[in-house]
Amino acid sequence: MRKTLLAAVGAAFLFTAPASASDNAPKEILNVSYDIARELYAAINPKFQAYWKDKTGQDIDIKQSHAGSSKQARAIMQGLKADIVTFNQVLDVQVLADRGGFVSKSWQQDLPNNASPYFSLPAFLVREGNPKGIKDWSDLVRDDVKLVFPNPKTSGNARYTYLAAYAYALEQNGGDDAKAREFVGKLLSNVAVFDTGGRGATTSFVEREIGDVLITFEAEVENIRAKYGEDEYQRVVPSISLLAEFPVALVKKVAEKRGSVDVSKAYLDYLYSEEAQEIIASFNNRVHNETVKAKYAENFPEVRLIRVEDVFGSWDKANKTHFAEGGVLDQVFTGN
């Protein structure tokens, strides 16, 4: 009995013994990412593996983890061993820099374009023939329109939507805060279902056929059309929208320990290469690379983009005023 007991416990620990830092050349890195980037990174990874093998002769395996980007940041702080993060929220990377120094303080300067290899914007997806005649944000607050977008509390995606609508209302009403609040309040009361993540919202809209308009990143809008039929859904790009940057960063605290700094950095740099930018653009994200930009120009209609910093001061400020407990979001919700 005792021997068996010992053996059983021993086996259990053997099985679960956490892999500690091994030899110098890492065999895998973990990319912790936001919810709807699965297909994108699944397409980039093999290309990077080939590139890395070519360059160094080493095989590298890239693991992916996807969930709401705030949840992911929390998991990293709690011990999820990410080498790099590719998020859809500046704030979620910043929190890694502020708490526990997972990411370098200067992460936004470490890579071009505020460390964002690509960007997108909240846009609308409507059903075939645009039956409700949706053109701009103002159509979304009509009584006969039902919306689908995820919960701004849990989804970075939805935070962009909320802030874009707020910014639009501010501009329409000459900066009147009360009017803007009323506007987003109406917008929220038109929401038919609040999923916790971007993917859940898409499923609600497409599979469960809930709502008239799905508001999500333009990239996702186009991916849905590609997946579910270009004729069944239409993209509507509003007159103004919010610049949604997709920041990436090296989780140096983990990468240094695991000896994966070089390959992780190379991966992030690779995201800016023409090869990767082309893949990224083919997934309907807007990129900065001029050649790729020209090639895909017709996919991306002109739109006036405003920055969070310009309207709300900073991400941190926007977060405190709007999304924190008791903030504007909670207030307009209670108002219903």
Binding site: K63, S65, H66, T203, E207
Partner: protein, 288 residues
């Protein structure tokens, strides 16, 4: 079959009417019960299979054999294999201690071992993060030794243990209490060692209850979602158990894949039920 015909047929019309009325009542109750069971319990299971095979068997088998889903199946089985022996040892130990001895704190221990059943899985996951996560009391200390408990197999095993640890003890304690310890004492008087007594006297008495508890615990380990989703790092092909994989596929626009993975879990559930009712039918009084 000859017994009913040997009783004289009832001819009294009043009695007949009464019997008919009774039969009607009986039929109504049975039909309502069956309807409820069919609607609430059977229909969802049928829906899973219908949806999984909606696009044909080929699509189904292609979905089941993707590397990520196969890995999720493997991880789930591995977790169950690790959790099971620990649960058995703990269950036997705690039952033995509670049934055979009186010690201070015994009542408290009895309450504590039942506690995990009344705790929401999400809350359980949160508790583990708070203690064993890298910022937690124990977790940060272990982190200094480069030992990571959350977001890997270890974390999944730990929360699985938490949610399933009451099952075995809950079967064993009542049974061991009823059967008493006379036989064990006799064996001991005759010179058997403690281990021999357990192996040859106690174990045969409790083996069916043990198996029964193990089956229930196992089903729960395999199906646990809430607690595991908090402590799994969501790393594809690495820390996704089958229930998490179901949700992942569902969110990946791959509803068919999700339902295909769900059929595996459903089959496991059905096997569990069959085993359970077989034990119950064959050994009705050997478990609680």
């Amino acid at each position: 079959m000859t017994a009913p015909s040997s009783t004289p047929p009832i001819t009294n019309p009043q009695v007949l009417a009464l019997l008919r009325q009774k039969a009607r009542k009986r039929a109504v109750l049975i039909v309502v019960a069956l309807l409820f069971a069919a609607l609430v319990m059977a229909l969802p299971v049928i829906a899973i299979f219908a949806r999984a095979f909606q696009e044909g068997f080929e699509v189904y088998s292609a979905n089941i054999t993707t590397p990520d889903t196969l890995h999720a199946i493997w991880l789930t089985v591995l977790t169950a294999l690790i959790v099971l022996p620990i649960n058995l040892i703990y269950g036997i130990a705690v039952s033995w201690a509670i049934v055979h001895y009186r010690f201070p704190g015994r009542r408290a221990l009895q309450i504590i071992i039942e506690l995990p059943f009344s705790i929401s899985p999400i809350v359980a996951g949160l508790c583990y993060l708070l203690i064993y996560g890298a910022t937690g009391v124990v977790g940060s200390w272990l982190d200094g030794w480069d030992i990571q408990l959350m977001f890997n197999l270890f974390g999944i095993v730990l929360v699985s243990l938490f949610v399933t640890c009451p099952f075995v003890a809950r079967e064993l304690i009542p049974l061991m209490e009823i059967s008493g310890q006379d036989q064990e004492e006799a064996a001991l008087t005759l010179g058997a060692t403690g281990w021999q007594t357990f192996r040859h006297v106690t174990l045969p008495k409790i083996k069916w209850a043990l198996l029964y508890g193990a089956i229930l615990a196992n089903a729960r380990v395999i199906g646990e979602f809430g607690a595991v989703s908090v402590v799994s790092g969501n790393i594809r092909g690495e820390t996704m158990t089958l229930p998490l994989q179901v949700q992942l596929l569902y969110n990946d626009y791959n509803a068919t894949g999700a339902f295909a993975a769900a059929t595996v879990l459903t089959v496991i559930a059905v096997i569990t039920l069959v085993l359970r009712s077989t034990i119950e039918a064959r050994h009705p009084h050997e478990h609680a």
